[in-house]
């Protein structure tokens, strides 16, 4: 005896594609839908013979389980939400690529939401993913952390519904996991290298005052401190994210130079800023690294475009990305996972430094 559902697709002239469902299959195979479902889900409690038969019917009828129905039953669509401030940014694009590939290799799909950097939009993005019942979410970058603690409430709230992983940022909260590179240390080592190769006045260009941005800045200070030198505050220059472009940075530095600011090295929080510094050197006829040493951050493709190539910090993005996924999937499988995983950056020396 079958229930009413069995008759659904019968003797109807279909105008659209016929969607075979589990009832059709069970009927053709002469078994119940429960058995079909078991076969589908590799349940051990099916005889080999039945299984083979059902599988054959499935193959023949081209049946594909309906993902929505499955999602409704299991309350999961095996989907992870990826929140990215800007998918066009080369660093984030690279991270996105690593995350997606790793997730897919574990049969998880990615729901991508590019939020921009505004808090309000990020909150919306998180809420949207929450409402879509993703299995977990990955926040890409420390952009997601606000300095005011109460502005991070949206993350805590999301973490009550599902595990949250933050890529390259540190945040303490139940069900929130962080995987990052020690950017303070990496920046410190870069600055130390400049100091140790004879530079006295390192201009520090940074484009973000978010958590990581300040962390890197702290690394710069730590380098001077470690060498017993005072920091010249006028060498610390903030360059608003929205207005970052190579010519803008170039012109900005020319302006600083014309105002009489002296510097024999440039360290920056992102490669693109350092490319601007190279343009500045070119405009003023300064040799690199003779007159001016330059170090970037991220070791992105940009660092290979310039002449000479740009010394830059490799922040181990691949390892960080893969660990984000490993941590998230571990949590979903009920394993005990570390709330914080820290990698160490590495200075890649190229032609722009001694």
């Amino acid at each position: 005896m079958y229930n009413k559902n069995d008759l659904r697709n019968e003797s109807i002239y279909m105008l659209e594609v016929i969607t075979t469902n589990i009832y059709n299959v069970s009927q053709k195979a002469g078994v119940s839908i429960a058995t079909v479902s078991r076969v589908l889900n590799n349940s051990p409690h099916v005889s080999a013979k039945t299984k083979a038969h059902v599988l054959a019917v499935i193959e023949e009828s081209g049946y594909v389980p309906n993902a929505f129905a499955r999602g409704l039953g299991l309350n999961s669509m095996k989907t992870i939400g990826l929140l990215c401030p800007n998918a066009a940014d080369s660093y984030l694009a690279q991270a996105l690529s690593y995350l997606e590939m790793t997730l897919r290799s574990h049969q998880y799909d990615c729901l991508l939401s590019c939020t921009g950097r505004e808090l309000e939009a990020r909150i919306q993005g998180v809420e949207l993913l929450t409402s879509k019942h993703v299995d977990g979410m990955i926040l890409m970058g420390s952009t997601f952390l606000e300095s005011k603690e109460k502005d991070n409430e949206y993350i805590r709230k999301a973490a009550q519904q599902m595990p949250v992983v933050i890529l390259n940022a540190s945040f303490t909260c139940e069900n929130v996991y962080c995987v990052l590179c020690d950017e303070k240390r990496a920046t410190m080592e870069a600055a130390q290298y400049l100091l140790d190769t004879g530079c006295k006045n390192i201009l520090y260009l940074y484009h973000s005052k978010n958590h990581n941005g300040l962390n890197k800045l702290a690394g710069y200070r730590a380098a001077y401190e470690s060498r017993g030198l005072p920091v010249n505050e006028s060498l610390l220059r903030f360059f608003a994210q929205d207005s970052v472009s190579i010519p803008a940075v170039r012109d900005y530095l020319v302006g600083l130079h014309n105002k009489g600011l002296m510097f024999d090295a440039v360290l920056s929080s992102e490669d693109i800023l350092s490319v601007g510094a190279m343009k500045y050197a070119h405009v003023l006829g300064k040799t690199i690294p003779g007159d001016l040493s330059i170090i970037g951050y991220n070791s992105s493709p940009y660092s290979l475009c310039t002449e000479p190539e740009l010394t830059s910090v490799d922040n181990k993005l691949k390892a960080v990305s893969q660990q984000c996924v490993a941590t998230l999937l571990g949590v979903l499988e009920g394993k005990e996972m570390p709330q914080k995983t820290v990698f160490t950056g590495e200075l890649i020396k190229r032609g722009s430094t001694l």
Copy 2:
């Protein structure tokens, strides 16, 4: 009278987050679930008073509709599948960013699948998105088109289930829509510009033999033909995609030079190849554009990194991306949409040409 579902969440000590459903809301509001559903979907057939009351209850109880159930009922999750060969590629990353932003502004989500360039993986990606019942899919780039017609069967098959849009490629099939930039013409104009500024021997570097790759090559030939000049076949050089890197291109060109191949200009199918050409010029002490003119393709951020900056073809990616979305959503709304939309590229002249 309410049905059995009304009692679901009653007097249960919840261990997990309480998920309010439409029944809870209807009960609290003293209306039926149908009315709640109508309010949710902005049906006009609800009195203002009832609507306000239900809305208040929804607000108070923090109710969020279950996306899976909704998907099951409507057979749609308002989600578009994005198939991208490589999200880390700067061109595709930029396209991805435009597509996502445009889709989100229309309340559509993006399911991202990075397939790589292998046919088998791409087929899998398409099938996966099909099985997830996305409302439509966008194939990013002509990578998805195979030269053998039967290898494109997977696209025709997908198009039977849902509308398919291909970004920057041309393909004729019912329910498949193409939005592209005329790359043959753009490449022709770039080559003509080189010929018209005195270059005789333009080395053409290309990284892909897919549909667009051959199109661009045809543009190169057309330029010579338009000027009544013969094409020197030994100036056409293929550089396998997988091995593209700036130093590899540089060394390859040095090799060609050492073999005695003469060229006074380089035109390429992607900026990164042209950056390699600049490195080559630097190694051999050639001045740009004096000894060697160089033109790239895509007008990507890379074109701004070099010294001098790289002349490059702007292929109107933003317009193309936005039109992809407009076309797809138009189709989903049942409108009649053009099967093919063609934009025109533009040569952006910078310092690497006369």
